[in-house]
Symmetry: C2
């Protein structure tokens, strides 16, 4: 029986050491982890085989089994991804916005780690290493709760990480592991707001809703991505087809793929037949509003369901709108505040779309697929947020820090 | 019977208009509010008299009655405080950190309003106007739930504000009012995370704990301020007494007043008698650790309770520590992560304290009383946060905004 209160207390206690560690110390831990992963490839594969066999007898589908599977090459890739995190600039200790007040006080802010972070995720063993490495580099303690299907693989990764911490004279509780498949333990953890500062759930919408429902700790998350592209009547013919093809087809199963296409009424007749032909070739199924179906009578009629749908598949809802304002209203009503794009050559409309669409990422004249930490230059991504507080959009290492006020005085007292 | 679901839905719906309003439009609304408050002073005083009489028969203490009371002068001050908010720079629309990616995408962030904000506060009618004005200026919709004792006064302020919105062709639901003394309505509101984006509770610890306990919406708050000052063995004789006097005595009832004084063991004997004399004159009661009581046998012995205590009174816990590290550990264990200060002339110790103390505000050589939005130059303050996410320390108008990613493309697709 694991005691989650102990885990949370130990994690909190370990925070002081890692939060005050020098960049070189943190990088040394990361180097040890990389080395030990490479050294222990056979052991990791053995543990992973146990999970794979259990998964097969449990009847996991092939996509899930594929995400669970580790082999020599994949493990090496996981180890190498640590190098990228070693190379990231350490955000901790940065001082910003120092201003001198009339009384001579110098007031500014310092970037510091957040504390103990609970990461809840599904059966992707690479997240165990990625999340631990990002939290370590940013000076946070982390509690990992991965999918039960990967428990043996995760356990050995965490063992390696904790051994590396000990080797470098750090408290192993800096990286903790909730080694249980008992779901009630998650709910216990989510009440421990005295010890845990932040929860980041990663996975399907049901997992995330369950976490939000039960948590007394702040949660940063995104439920889903119902991403829109709006083609304005003033659009660039050279880019429109490439963008909407890329946004739908390049990787339809991810949260930044386009799910609804909005088209200005004045250009629908000229565009829709070409669009249909292009998507037919890619086996994309279309669901149209009545006006779209008039032009393309052979496609499916969209229902209210389709405007809210995150298909994650080669399906696309298509709607004709009267103008930019109707597009913005449609997005406000049906969108998930994840990522939306406009295709226009009109300066004012581009600026209006950027300002008025209330989503984590708003794009002019490019594919929604760019809404991603690496593509934005943040380095490794710890998740993506459609929340509005603290972090919005792709979250990199900086989003694992917080700013405190610092004040340099010389004897000032308040009058 | 009020319907809080309606209030929340209307608030959310009104957000689009105010979030996209121009600075001049928002300032015009604020000017109307100011004008109407001045015009309606008599009506406000009449409403306030009803609250005052009810408060007296309910047996509210004199401090509470004083906070509730409005007169001609106080109402004019409330109206004038709107001018300060008019003069604040509009944070909305600011664009930051634009960087050009290798593929030519320009990726940056835009500062935008948060959404619908619920403010829960006690019987201070000035908060009604302050909070509404700050939320308006930052482009947010606001739902006000003030203390029941001020309900008549608040109602007339909100009427004035909504009339001013209507006069300026804005949706009156931008400023909503929970016109009830039924506490269960608050708990209903706190579940409406589909409509309300943020809760800011202001008031006593019990109020705030009840909000956190029941909320599914993110809450930004501080429970209390157990502020520490540490006097190092290398201290500046010219400033030490003024600072510790100011931090304790100038306004003992507020959250940034000092509650515990830590003194390096090597200077305790030379300092404590003078300290005692100074505080005796100001009627400050001392509670000492055993080593302090050896030097000052006539004072009270501190118990474990005292190290956690937020006295909000002319009382002070005093402890001798062996060194800076012990001071930091004491603060980590007993502090409330609000505001702490060190008095030292040693450069390394100053920097170490700033870095290692995990509080919202950390100060070198000045009074803890400076931990305040106005003193930090933020302009009007919407509250103070000891949370680590989104806002930490005094919260000004910028903390009522969020950053979304914006991307300027020219046809890029993801490879």
């Amino acid at each position: 029986m694991i005691d989650v209160l102990d885990i949370a207390k130990n994690s909190k206690e370990s925070f002081f050491q890692i939060s005050n560690a020098a960049t070189s110390e943190k990088n040394n831990i990361l180097k040890s982890i990389k080395l030990q992963i490479i050294k222990n490839i056979d052991k990791i594969i053995q543990a992973n085989e146990i999970d794979m066999n259990a998964g097969k007898s449990k009847g996991l589908n092939s996509a899930m089994l594929d995400r669970l599977l580790l082999n020599d090459q994949r493990i090496k890739k996981i180890a190498e991804s640590i190098d990228e995190i070693i190379m990231l600039e350490d955000p901790v200790g940065e001082i910003l916005n120092i201003k001198i007040r009339p009384n001579g006080l110098k007031v500014g802010q310092m970037r510091v780690p957040i504390g103990s972070i609970l990461i809840i995720y599904e059966a992707r063993p690479n997240v165990t290493v990625d999340a631990a490495a990002l939290c370590l580099k940013s000076g946070n303690a982390v509690i990992l709760k991965g999918g039960t299907e990967a428990i043996n693989t995760n356990r050995i990764f965490v063992d390696i990480i904790r051994q590396s911490l000990i080797e470098n004279n750090f408290n192993p509780h800096i990286v903790s592991f909730v080694d249980t498949s008992d779901r009630s333990k998650i709910n216990e953890l989510l009440k421990l707001d005295n010890y845990i500062d932040l929860v980041i759930p990663r996975g399907g919408e049901n997992l995330i809703r369950a976490v939000v429902e039960n948590s007394r700790i702040p949660v940063i998350k995104h439920y889903k991505g119902v991403c829109h592209i709006y083609i304005d009547n003033e659009y660039d013919k050279n880019i429109v087809m490439d963008i909407i093809y890329n946004a739908k087809v390049q990787r339809p199963g991810v949260c930044n793929a386009m799910e609804t296409l909005l088209i200005h009424k004045d250009v629908a007749t000229e565009l829709l037949p070409t669009i249909k032909k292009m998507y037919d070739a890619a086996k994309v199924e279309l669901f149209g509003c009545p006006r779209v179906c008039e032009i393309l009578p052979e496609i499916n009629s969209a229902t209210e369901y389709d405007w809210y749908a995150e298909y994650l598949d080669l399906k696309l809802a298509v709607k004709i709108v009267d103008d930019l304002d109707e597009a913005i209203r449609h997005i406000a009503k049906y969108g998930s505040q994840h990522t939306e794009a406009i295709i226009t050559t009109n300066y004012y409309k581009a600026e209006k779309f950027l300002r008025a669409v209330d989503s984590a990422t708003v794009i002019v004249n490019a594919s929604t697929r760019f809404s991603d930490g690496n593509e934005f230059g943040l380095g490794a991504e710890i998740g993506i947020s459609t929340d509005k507080l603290h972090a919005r959009g792709p979250m990199g290492i900086r989003e694992l820090t917080t700013l405190k006020f610092i004040v340099y005085g010389s004897g000032q007292i308040r009058k």
